[in-house]
């Protein structure tokens, strides 16, 4: 077990290093630089000034040197300075992380609240009209562009209620109710897709477990249907659900980008896209690494959880 954990940790480290190189190189492949963009607002490009700024930002150094400088600083916890805003990248990223995390968590909560029960119902009422209805409902969630759903929600709210969630972030201590409302609608838009995935996963794994011998035995022993479903079947079906929740995170980011945009939430996801368009290397690189760390760690956690819960998994 210990060897397994170490091996996975080692792999995670290799993954992160590889990722840092990948993002670093990809970004520099993109034509245009922050310097061009700085000029873009002024409507002209002055070659002499451009060279000066390039030098100021150390962008004229060899790419390997740039990478080592960045990676070295990152290891010391120094996120560098945003080219775009001329302030410490940490100051920009810091306050945005909780917003995105909260949206992701609330989205996941919505997904679980909707996905689990409907999945269980679908499995226990397999091939009934209710099952079909719920499956179609969940498939619809997988089929809609997240930003479209968000847009429709805003349109609907403003048309019907003449009200939309606040456009500025409302801290919890300021107004708890409004804070929750602010996150509720985007969480619905984000969570629907994940709800659909969880519904499908729950349904299929429940079905499989329900067919297995020990469940049949339980039934034969005279355990009530409900007890069988909840005590035995669900517990065993949880494993793959955990997997989905874990791996859904990387997908979730995509949904968060557009949802934060539509609902004007000051999270990291939307900020990352802007930073890419602005070629704000320090912000993009560090944010991508942050996301990568979260994804790699959540993958690792899922793997470990899996290893713990399922004795059939071999540690190699």
């Amino acid at each position: 077990m210990r060897a397994f954990v170490f091996r996975r940790l080692g792999l995670a480290t290799v993954t992160l290093v590889g990722m840092s190189i990948a993002i670093f190189v990809l970004l520099r492949l993109a034509p245009g630089s922050i310097v061009d963009l700085l000029f873009s607002a002024a409507g002209y490009v002055n070659p002499v000034e451009k060279q000066r700024i390039t030098h100021e930002l150390l962008l004229d150094r060899p790419i390997v040197v740039q990478y080592i400088q960045w990676a070295g600083a990152l290891l010391h916890g120094d996120l560098g300075k945003s080219y775009r805003y001329d302030v410490a990248a940490a100051r920009l990223i810091g306050p945005r992380v909780p917003v995105t995390v909260e949206l992701a968590v609330m989205g996941m909560a919505v997904a679980l609240l909707v996905g689990l029960p409907t999945g269980i119902i679908s499995a226990t009422r397999q091939n009934t009209a209710l099952d079909y209805g719920l499956r179609i409902f969940s498939l619809a969630g997988l089929s809609m562009p997240a930003f479209w759903l968000g847009m429709l929600i805003i349109l609907f709210l403003v048309r019907v209620a003449g009200w939309i969630p606040p456009m500025l972030y409302v801290p919890v201590r300021e107004n708890l109710g409004l804070h929750v409302l602010q996150f509720l609608f985007p969480a619905l838009a984000v969570g629907y897709r994940s709800a659909a995935l969880i519904n499908r996963m729950t349904r299929s794994s429940m079905l499989e477990v329900l067919r297995e011998d020990y469940v049949r035995t339980g039934r034969a022993k005279g355990l009530a249907g409900r007890v069988v479903v909840y005590r035995h079947a669900l517990r065993n079906a949880l494993l793959p659900i955990v997997t989905v929740v874990g791996t859904e995170f990387a997908f979730l980011i995509g949904g968060l980008v557009v949802t934060e945009t539509v609902f004007n939430l000051p999270g990291v996801a939307r900020f990352l896209v802007d930073a890419i368009l602005w070629r704000d290397y320090p912000v993009v690189q560090n944010l991508v690494m942050l996301i990568a760390i979260v994804v790699v760690l959540s993958n690792l956690a899922v793997d470990l959880l899996y290893a713990r819960l399922d004795p059939r998994v071999r540690y190699t």
């Binding site: 997988l142 930003f147 794994s205 980011i253 995509g254 557009v258 945009t261 896209v273 790699v296």
Partner: protein, 296 residues
């Protein structure tokens, strides 16, 4: 061993020899899947026959016919430049489906190849490939696609590559797991014992067993690819004009005029949802039909 292996750790259901997939049997087994297949077929045909089916030139602007609501002349109305939405949707079907299919195929073939090789070629190569796949999978799909379109410049080719590359590791993992499973089975060992070479084993015994999961994953990706393209368009990096991809129709100026002319937003959104919905139905049906034990 990671969870992907565990999911498929039970010996995979081999495709029974001699059974050819038939649509009739498929439709009986999975009526919803058949509906999905039909919808996709209809949209595909409409897209291919776009110049015949469309009522207007999809790029023709008409200053006298802006924001016309759906009606007999313009079935689904016109946009702010006076272009016919229905004709643009039909032409857009070409673009969106082409992107979907191209991404699914690229991802499927790439992922299939990587998965097969890494599952069969032995530990050393596998140890190199796995971290690379981990790296690729760690990137959020949309972010990777964004950075790539930014790096390569917006064009159809770029968008296809940017969307399909992140699919590769997802497919590869599943295929690798299946390949690993098959490698351990007795009949492959028997074939080895009889002196069959590595390539022969791969082609004759392992590959057929990976077809089912490959087909299923590829179908699922078709839908995802269309959705990712739409999101890219929304963020300003999708397929550029004049190709009227559905994502682009839904994003460029549509959001701004959504309240004034809801049909600008409703119809392209419905088109995307419908096709992705159909491809999901079809994929589910295929899974039930080909390999009920698989789930991802």
């Amino acid at each position: 061993m990671s969870r992907a292996d565990a999911v498929a750790s039970a010996p995979p259901a081999a495709v029974p020899a001699g059974r050819r997939p038939r649509f009739g049997a498929f439709a009986r087994r999975s009526p919803l899947g058949a509906v999905g297949a039909l919808v996709m077929l209809v949209v595909m045909v409409a897209g291919l026959a776009a110049p015949l089916v469309a009522t207007y030139d999809p790029t023709r602007t008409d200053a006298a016919q802006t924001f016309v609501p759906p009606g007999p002349r313009h079935w689904l109305g016109t946009d702010h430049l006076g272009r016919d939405i229905y004709s643009r949707l039909v032409h857009g079907a070409r673009v969106s489906l082409a992107v979907g299919v191209a991404c699914a195929l690229l991802g499927g073939i790439g992922g299939g190849a990587v998965g097969l090789i890494s599952g069969l070629a032995g530990r050393r190569l596998d140890a190199v490939v796995q971290p690379v796949l981990d790296i690729m999978q760690g990137f959020p799909l949309l972010v990777l696609a964004l950075v790539m379109t930014a790096a390569l410049g917006p064009s159809i080719g770029t968008v296809v590559v940017a969307i399909s590359v992140p699919f590769i590791p997802r497919v590869a993992r599943v295929v690798r797991a299946v390949a690993l499973g098959v490698r351990e089975t007795t009949y492959v060992e028997a074939a080895r014992a009889l002196g069959a070479g590595g390539l022969r084993v791969a082609l004759r015994h392992v590959f057929p067993n990976t077809v089912a999961p490959l087909v299923i994953m590829t179908t699922a990706q078709l839908g995802s690819a269309i959705l990712v393209e739409a999101s890219l368009s929304f963020l300003g990096l999708g397929i550029p004009e004049p190709y009227p991809s559905w994502g682009r129709m839904l994003s460029v100026s549509a959001t701004e005029f959504a309240q004034r002319a809801p049909w600008l937003v409703v119809f392209p959104g419905l088109a995307i949802s419908l096709v992705v919905f159909a491809s999901n139905l079809f994929g589910d049906g295929l899974r039930d039909y080909l390999d009920p034990r698989l789930r991802f």
